[in-house]
Amino acid sequence: MQVHFLLFALYRDLAGTEQLTLELPPGATARDAVDRLRRTGPGFARLPEAPVVAINREYAPLHALLREGDELALLPPVAGG
């Protein structure tokens, strides 16, 4: 299945990109997806192992299951205000 990754702020700077799409096996969790992303290249390897994530624009735990076409955002600690 395809998962669309979004990267913001520091994570975007580390990875050198703000979005990409990867193929993941069915049954993959958000944590699996992050693991896969971190093996994509040297910049990605600098991303944290357990970042805060949002699935389809809602905060989600890393053990959440992904589905075809999901948008998985990796969010650095937020600093609104």
Binding site: R57, P76, G81
Partner: protein, 144 residues
């Protein structure tokens, strides 16, 4: 209730004008602004990045929660994004309630939740020429 997040400059009086009717005895306006100094360094400006598609919904949720606590939906919250100069308003929160205690509580709730949950990131620019991402908070309920 009104919430917005975007690049347009925030005018305090516009946000204030969005709340309050004759049943409201108390109106509270909070403004967050870019400070000229941070941790001893002279600040030139700040860029606010956001996850726009998510931030609108989070801001709405925060305002709704505050409205429920305050028993009043006379609430307006506007958050700015993009490049801001020192002194510019980054966030404005207006709350109107019949009595003052609820206005203070709702206003404080909204700003604290914004800092904790709104997907916004600050890239601070120094007069020395360098920039850095400010440290942030880990939103509750997002833990693995």
């Amino acid at each position: 209730m009104y919430t917005a997040i975007g690049a347009a400059p925030i005018r305090a009086e516009d946000v204030l004008a969005r709340v309050g009717d004759d049943a409201d005895g108390a109106v509270l306006l909070f403004l967050g602004r870019v400070r000229r100094e941070h941790e001893g360094r002279r600040v030139h400006g700040m860029r606010y990045d956001t996850y726009q598609a998510m931030a609108g919904a989070v801001l709405d949720a925060i305002a709704r929660e505050a409205a429920e606590r305050a028993g009043s939906d006379h609430i307006a919250v506007v958050h700015r994004t993009g490049e801001l100069a020192v002194g510019e308003i980054s966030v404005a929160i207006a709350v109107a309630t019949p009595h003052r205690a609820e206005a203070y509580e709702a206003s404080r709730y909204i700003i604290e939740q914004i800092k904790l949950r709104l997907p916004v990131w600050k890239h601070e620019h120094y007069t020395a020429g360098d920039s850095r991402w400010l440290e942030g908070a880990v939103p509750p309920g997002s833990a693995s």
